[in-house]
C-alpha cells in the first residue's frame, strides 16, 4: 500500500463528527442512533406489555405522552406494536449490528485503512438519518403513526385500512432505510473482497467478518425486493394504483394482496438471517477468544454460515402456510425450512465444542456471547414447530411465534450486539467499561429475557393470538391473564436492568478508565497493530497476516513466546518458526 492514503484526518468540528467519511466515526453515528431507537422501541414494548397486564388501564409515567386519560386505546395499541416492530428491526438492530459493528469491524479486522467507498459510507448514514427523521415524524402525523403491523400487509396497509399519514411516512421510511442498507452492503462486500491485508485469506478472516460479509450479500440481494414492495405500496396509497387491492370493493380489475406477502417474505425470511449472521460471527470469535482455544472446526462454521445464507432465500413460504398455499408447495417449503437445522446444528456444536476443554474466562463479552448461544438455542428449537405445516397451522399468529422470533431475531441479536459492544468498546472509545455493572446487566438481562419470551411461548401454546388489544375478550384465553401479568412484570424488570448499561455506556465513553491497546490479549489485527482508539487511517503500515485469528494455547507458541496467544501478523523468533509451522 502506498503512502498517499495517509493524509491527516479532518480537523473541523462538522467534518470530524458529522460529515465524516471515517468508518470509525460512522460506526459511532450508527451506534448512538441505534441505541436511541432501541430505547424508543423498548419503551413501546413496555407499553404493549402494560396493556397485556392491565388492559385499558391508565399507563403510569408513559401515559402522559398518549394524551387523553393516559390509557392505551385500541387504535393507539395498533400504532404501538407496529412502530415497535418496525423500529426494532430497521432502526435499532440493523444500525447496531450492521451499521455500527459492521462499520467498525470490517476495515479494522481485515487490516484496511477504511471502507472501499468512504463517501458512499457517509451517504449511507445520512440516508439512514433521513429515514429516521420520517420515523420520528410518523409519531406526530395526522391520524397517528403506522398501524398495519410491521409486516404491513395490504389491503390493511393501504388507504382501505390505514389512512393515517404516519403509515405513508413509515412505508416511505422503509424504502429509504432500504436504500441506506444497500449502500452499506455494497460497500462491505467490496471492502472484504478488495481491501484485505496481504496474507488475510478468506480462511484467515475472523468469523465476525464472515458473518458481516454474508449479511451484506443477503442485504444487497433481498432488500431491493422489500424496496420494490414498498414502492408499489406507496403508489397504492398515494397514486390510486391497485397492485395489492382486490375484492368486491374495487371491482374485478384489481391486484392481489398475496403478491405483497410473497415480496415481503422473500425479503423477510432472509432478513432474519441478515440480523443474526453478524451475531453468529461475533460469538464464534468471542467464544474462542475467551475460551483461549481455537474456534472449533472453523471451516465447518464458515461453511454452515454460508449454507444458511444460501438456503435462507428458499424457505420464505413457511410464513404463508395458512394463506391458502398448495400442499405440494407447502411441503417443499417445509423440507427446505427443516433443512436449515442441519447447518444450524453444526454451528451450535462447534460453539459448544469451542468452550469444551477450554480455559474459560467469564469477562462480560464472553457472558453475553454465551447468553446468545443459550437464547438462540431455545429460539431455534421452537422454530421447528413453525417450520412444519400441521403444527404451524395451530401455532400460526399466536404469541408462540412472537416468542420464537424474539428469541432468535431480538434476544439473540441484542445479546450478540451487546457482546460486541462490550468487547470492542475499549477499541472504539479508548476507554474501558465497568465490568461489575456489565455483569449486573448481563445476569438481569439473560434471566429476564429468557423468562419473558419463554412465557410467551407458553401463552401461545395455549392459543393466545398475537396483536390482541385485549386477549381476555376470549373465554378460552381468560385463564392466561395472570401469566401475562407476570410476563409483563418480568419485562418491566428487564427494561429496568438496561439502566446500568446506559449509565455504564455513557459514563465509560466519556470518563472510563483509559484502555490499553490489547486488554483482552487476543491476536486479531485491531488489537495487535493499532492503539485504542485507532488513528484516522487505522494502520500506519498495513500488517502482513501470517495466520488465522484463533491461535490460542498452541504449545509451540507457548514455548516460543511465553504467552497463550499470538497475533495474526506477529513474527515469531526464527528458531521457533519451523517448530510452529511443523506443529500446525
Amino acid at each position: 500500500m502506498s503512502e498517499p492514503y495517509l493524509h491527516p484526518g479532518p480537523t473541523s468540528f462538522w467534518f470530524r463528527y458529522f460529515f465524516s467519511t471515517d468508518h470509525k466515526v460512522i460506526a459511532r453515528q450508527f451506534l448512538w442512533s441505534g441505541l436511541s431507537f432501541l430505547l424508543l422501541g423498548g419503551l413501546l414494548a413496555m407499553m404493549i406489555r402494560w396493556q397485556w397486564a392491565y388492559p385499558g388501564q391508565r399507563v403510569p409515567l408513559l401515559g402522559l405522552i398518549l394524551g387523553g386519560d393516559g390509557a392505551i386505546t385500541p387504535s393507539s395499541y395498533t400504532g404501538l406494536f407496529t412502530m415497535h416492530g418496525l423500529i426494532m428491526v430497521f432502526w435499532a438492530i440493523t444500525p447496531l449490528l450492521i451499521g455500527a459493528i459492521g462499520n467498525f469491524c470490517i476495515p479494522l479486522l481485515i487490516g484496511a485503512r477504511d471502507m472501499a467507498f468512504p463517501r458512499l459510507n457517509m451517504y449511507s448514514f445520512w440516508t439512514f438519518a433521513l429515514s429516521a427523521a420520517l420515523v420520528v415524524a410518523a409519531f406526530f402525523a395526522e391520524l397517528g403513526p403506522a398501524t398495519a403491523g410491521w409486516t404491513t400487509y395490504p389491503p390493511l396497509s393501504t388507504m382501505v385500512g390505514a389512512p393515517s399519514a404516519g403509515q405513508t411516512l413509515m412505508v416511505a421510511a422503509l424504502f429509504i432505510v432500504g436504500a441506506s442498507t444497500i449502500m452499506g452492503g455494497i460497500n462491505y462486500i467490496v471492502t472484504v473482497i478488495r481491501f484485505r491485508a496481504p496474507g488475510m485469506t478468506y480462511m484467515r478472516m475472523p468469523l465476525t467478518v464472515w458473518g458481516l460479509w454474508l449479511t451484506s450479500i443477503l442485504n444487497v440481494l433481498f432488500v431491493p425486493i422489500l424496496g420494490s414492495a414498498g414502492l408499489l405500496l406507496l403508489l397504492d396509497r398515494l397514486a390510486g394504483t391497485k397492485f395489492f387491492i382486490a375484492g368486491a370493493m374495487v371491482g374485478r380489475a384489481a391486484g392481489d394482496p398475496l403478491l405483497f406477502q410473497h415480496l415481503f417474505w422473500i425479503f423477510g425470511h432472509p432478513e432474519v438471517y441478515i440480523l443474526i449472521l453478524p451475531a453468529w460471527g461475533v460469538i464464534g470469535d468471542l467464544l474462542s477468544f475467551f475460551a483461549r482455544k481455537p474456534a472449533y472446526w472453523y471451516r465447518g462454521t464458515v461453511g454452515a454460515m454460508a449454507a444458511v445464507t444460501i438456503v435462507s432465500g428458499l424457505v420464505y413460504g413457511h410464513h404463508m402456510y395458512v394463506a391458502g398455499i398448495s400442499p405440494m408447495l407447502g411441503l417443499g417449503f417445509e423440507i427446505l425450512t427443516l433443512a436449515i437445522s442441519f447447518p444450524a446444528v453444526v454451528l451450535f456444536v462447534n460453539w459448544l465444542h469451542t468452550v469444551w476443554q477450554g480455559s474459560n474466562r467469564f469477562a462480560v463479552p464472553m457472558l453475553f456471547a454465551l447468553g446468545t448461544v443459550f437464547v438462540f438455542g431455545i429460539g431455534g428449537l421452537t422454530g421447528l414447530f413453525l417450520g412444519t405445516i400441521s403444527t404451524d397451522v395451530y401455532l400460526h399468529d399466536t404469541i408462540w411465534v412472537v416468542g420464537h422470533f424474539h428469541l432468535t431475531m431480538a434476544a439473540a441479536t441484542f445479546l450478540g450486539g451487546l457482546a460486541a459492544i462490550y468487547f470492542w468498546f475499549p477499541k472504539m472509545f479508548g476507554r474501558e467499561m465497568d465490568p461489575t455493572l456489565g455483569k449486573l446487566h448481563f445476569w438481569g438481562t439473560i434471566v429476564l429475557l429468557t423468562a419473558v419470551f419463554v412465557a410467551m411461548h407458553v401463552a401461545g401454546y395455549a392459543g393466545q393470538s398475537r396483536r390482541l388489544y385485549d386477549p381476555f375478550q376470549y373465554g378460552f384465553l381468560r385463564h392466561l391473564a395472570p401469566l401475562n401479568r407476570w410476563t409483563s412484570f418480568a419485562a418491566f424488570a428487564l427494561g429496568a436492568f438496561q439502566l446500568p448499561f446506559m449509565f455504564n455506556f455513557i459514563k465509560s465513553a466519556f470518563a472510563g478508565k483509559k484502555a490499553g491497546a490489547n486488554p483482552w490479549q487476543v491476536g486479531t489485527l485491531e488489537w495487535t497493530h493499532a492503539p485504542s482508539p485507532p488513528p484516522h487511517y487505522n494502520y500506519q503500515a498495513i500488517p502482513t497476516v501470517l495466520r488465522g485469528p484463533h491461535e490460542f494455547s498452541d504449545p509451540a507458541i507457548l514455548q516460543a513466546l511465553g504467552k497463550d496467544w499470538v497475533g495474526q501478523a506477529e513474527e515469531l523468533p526464527s528458531a521457533s518458526e519451523a517448530k510452529v509451522a511443523a506443529g500446525a
Binding site: T78, P155, A246, L331, F342, V345, Y394, S553
Partner: protein, 278 residues
C-alpha cells in the same frame, strides 16, 4: 460419566415435559396446555406438538448440560486443550448431531405432517365427496363473520340462503366444509378448539374443514391483525346434535326468503360453491 449424564438428562426431560404434554388433554384442569380439542383430527396436531416438545426439550437439556459442565469444570484454572476440530474425528460430532436432528426430529415432523396434510387436513376432495358433508360459506369483514348456508334450493348465492352473523351452527359427527373469503382486508379464520386456521383473503376463496366430536359452544377468533377492533372479531361455533341442527336449519330456511332484502348490497357477498371433487 457421560453415560450417567445422558441418563440424568433423559430423566429430567421426561419429568419436566411430560406432565404438561399429557395434562393438556384434560378439559378444565389444564392451565397452560393446549385448549380442549373437540375435532376428529386435531389429535394428529396435538400428538406431533407433544412429540416435538419432548424431543426439543431433550436437545435443550443436552445443550444446557454440556454448557454447564464445560463452564463449571473448564474455567480459568483448567488449561485449554489445543484442538482445531478440523480432522475427520473432529467433524464427526457436529455432523453426527446435525444428521441426528435432521433425520430424527425433523424427519418425524416431516413424515407425519406431510401424511396428515396430504391425506387429512388439506385433502378437501375426499371430504367433499362424503355424502354427509355440510357446506358453508364464510365472509370475513371488519370486524365480524358472516355465514351462509344454502337454502331449500341447495345452491349458494341465491335469495333463499340462510345467513347468520357471528354464529356458526354445525352438527356434531358430520364433516363441515368451509369456503372463506373477505370483503375488505385479510382476516384469519381461527377455531382453536377444532385446530382449524386459514386466512380469509379479499379476492380469493380459502378452504377449511373440520368434524366436531362433541356438542357445545366454542370460540371463533380472528388470527390476523385486521385493524383497530381486530380483538373484538369474535364469533361462536355452536355444535348441536344432528336432530337439533336439522330443526334449526329447517326453521331458518323457512324464514330465509322473508329475511332477504334486495336492497342490502352488503349481504350479497356469496358465490356459487367452488367444487373441488375429482
Amino acid at each position: 460419566m457421560q453415560r450417567l449424564m445422558r441418563t440424568a438428562t433423559l430423566a429430567a426431560g421426561a419429568v419436566m415435559l411430560l406432565p404438561r404434554a399429557s395434562g393438556a388433554d384434560g378439559p378444565g384442569e389444564a392451565k397452560v396446555g393446549l385448549p380442549l380439542d373437540v375435532s376428529t383430527e386435531g389429535h394428529r396436531i396435538d400428538a406431533l406438538l407433544h412429540q416435538t416438545l419432548v424431543l426439543v426439550g431433550l436437545l435443550f437439556l443436552g445443550m444446557l448440560a454440556w454448557m454447564a459442565y464445560a463452564l463449571f469444570r473448564h474455567r480459568q484454572g483448567h488449561s485449554a486443550r489445543f484442538e482445531r476440530g478440523e480432522g475427520a474425528a473432529g467433524k464427526a460430532l457436529p455432523l453426527g448431531m446435525a444428521a441426528f436432528v435432521f433425520l430424527v426430529v425433523d424427519g418425524n415432523l416431516f413424515v407425519k405432517s406431510s401424511r396428515d396434510i396430504d391425506h387429512v387436513f388439506w385433502n378437501f376432495s375426499a371430504v367433499e365427496s362424503r355424502p354427509d358433508a355440510l357446506r358453508i360459506e364464510v365472509n370475513a369483514r371488519q370486524w365480524a363473520w358472516d355465514f351462509r348456508y344454502p337454502g331449500p334450493d341447495g345452491r349458494f348465492d341465491s335469495p333463499d340462503d340462510v345467513i347468520t352473523l357471528n354464529e356458526l351452527k354445525v352438527p356434531a359427527g358430520r364433516p363441515v366444509v368451509l369456503q372463506i373469503g373477505s370483503t375488505d382486508v385479510i382476516h384469519s379464520f381461527n377455531l382453536p378448539n377444532l385446530r382449524v386456521k386459514v386466512d380469509a383473503l379479499p379476492g380469493s376463496i380459502s378452504r377449511a374443514w373440520f368434524q366436531a366430536t362433541r356438542n357445545g359452544q366454542f370460540e371463533l377468533a380472528c388470527a390476523q391483525h385486521c385493524g383497530t377492533h381486530h380483538y373484538k372479531m369474535r364469533g361462536l361455533v355452536t355444535v348441536l346434535p344432528e336432530a337439533e341442527f336439522q330443526s334449526w336449519l329447517a326453521e331458518a330456511q323457512a324464514h330465509s326468503l322473508r329475511a332477504f332484502d334486495e336492497l342490502d348490497e352488503s349481504a350479497r357477498w356469496g358465490w356459487s360453491w367452488k367444487d373441488h371433487r375429482p
